[in-house]
Each structure stands twice: as C-alpha cells, then as structure tokens.
Symmetry: C2
C-alpha cells in the first residue's frame, strides 16, 4: 500500500451508510467507510455546535443523510436538509452545527484533520476506519 492509500478496503465490500452509522453514537467523530483514490469517505453524527475552522488546502464536502445540518459561515448560515450537498471552499471559515442529531457524509483528502486550522481543539478526532 502506498502512502496515499493507508486503508485497504476489500473490493468485495459495499457499504451501507445507515448500518455504519448504527455502529457508533458519539458526535463530531467521523468514521471512514471507504476510500476513493487519496480521499476518505466518512460518516459522522453531528449534534450541537462544532468549532470554527477552515481547511487551507482543501474544499470540504457535506451531504446530509438524515436530519438538518447548519453550516455557519461568517456572513450567513447554509441550512442543509436530507439529500442536500454543500461544498465549503478551501480557506473559508465555517462552523457546522445541528440542533438535533444529523447524519452526514463527508468527503475529504486522507489526512485532513476534522478541525482544520483549529487542530488541537478538544473536538479534533483521529481518523478511524469502521
């Protein structure tokens, strides 16, 4: 496995996103369920408010699978319902939050820290395969 492929996903695995989400209950702690080249495909449960952060080197993809996700930007809030996508451009400060638990699909380059330039926050999570 090369440096850009730290996880080995068996080709035989299809991934049921709801089944993966049923395996954990903590919030703001993404689990990687697949890789796509040097990107990770994560599911995460969000409830409450995350931390303001930006990713200098990458856009940040959100797809809401269940519930409602608010992505606060400095000048407005993007409200995403189930089946809606928003891509936060690189370098743009944002703060995800949800009043009630939301389930979200994230896609980011492998190695991307969930808290971006706020790494070191208590919300910073290690990459976890599930």
């Amino acid at each position: 496995m090369g440096r850009d492929r730290p996880y080995l996903i068996s080709m035989s695995d299809k991934v049921n996103l709801a089944a993966k989400l049923a395996l954990f209950s903590d919030h703001f702690s993404p689990r990687t369920v697949a890789t796509l080249n040097d990107y990770k495909v994560d599911v995460v449960k969000i409830q409450g408010e995350f931390v303001w952060h930006a990713h200098a080197d990458t856009d940040d993809f959100f797809l809401v699978l269940k519930g409602q996700l608010e992505i606060e930007l400095r000048d407005r809030t993007v409200v995403l319902e189930e089946g809606e996508v928003f891509v936060v451009p690189r370098g743009v400060e944002h703060c995800p939050r949800a009043r009630r638990e939301a389930h979200v699909l994230l896609i980011e380059p492998l190695g991307t820290v969930n808290t971006g330039d706020a790494a070191g926050s208590e919300l910073t999570a290690a990459e976890q395969m599930i």
Copy 2:
C-alpha cells in the same frame, strides 16, 4: 480558473440532489452538480445496461440515491440499494445496470470519461454542469 477547476460553483449554492435530478430524464448522462477540489460530483439516472469499461487512473465512487443499481464485475455482481456505496477500484472492469430507473451520485476526478477505456462508445457523454 485553473485547468483543474473548469467549473465555477458559487459558494452560495447548496445543492438539492433530487431537485437536480428532476431537471433531466435521459439515462447514462451524468450532470455535474458540484466540484470538490479537482473532483466532480455528478448525479445520473441509470436504466438498462451501460457498457463494460474500466478507469485506468481512478477509483469510481457510486452512491445510490434512489432505486437499485447493479454493478457487474467480471466475477460477480454488486447489488446496491438506496444509501449504499461501492467504490470500483481503478483498473477494474465493471458494467453498471438497473432494471428500473435508479438515481446515483458519482464522484470522480474532473475530466474522467464516463465510459473509461470504452470511450467512443455511443454512451460516452460530455461533462455537463447543471
């Protein structure tokens, strides 16, 4: 815009996938609804059988949004229901098909030809923003 960013998506746009899918009815003709770095996020309607092909340089991400998608591989068939993901590894021959219309989210590097090494097939589609 650099070569790797041929589409400009306004940051103000969130994307409702079902609404985008309601805008067209043809099959096997992906529409790009967002970009993520140098990747395109596409929605596509699939009905019937596509063409056998492989992508030498990239994995191929499928998420079923509606219906059922079969991804034929040379040795077996992966059957994906709504909310299920499969990543076809680079270089692996596959043939997507659906008995009834399925709606699918695809993520691939910009410039990836939908028919891969079968480019020139009548099913080869130009990249289209929607």
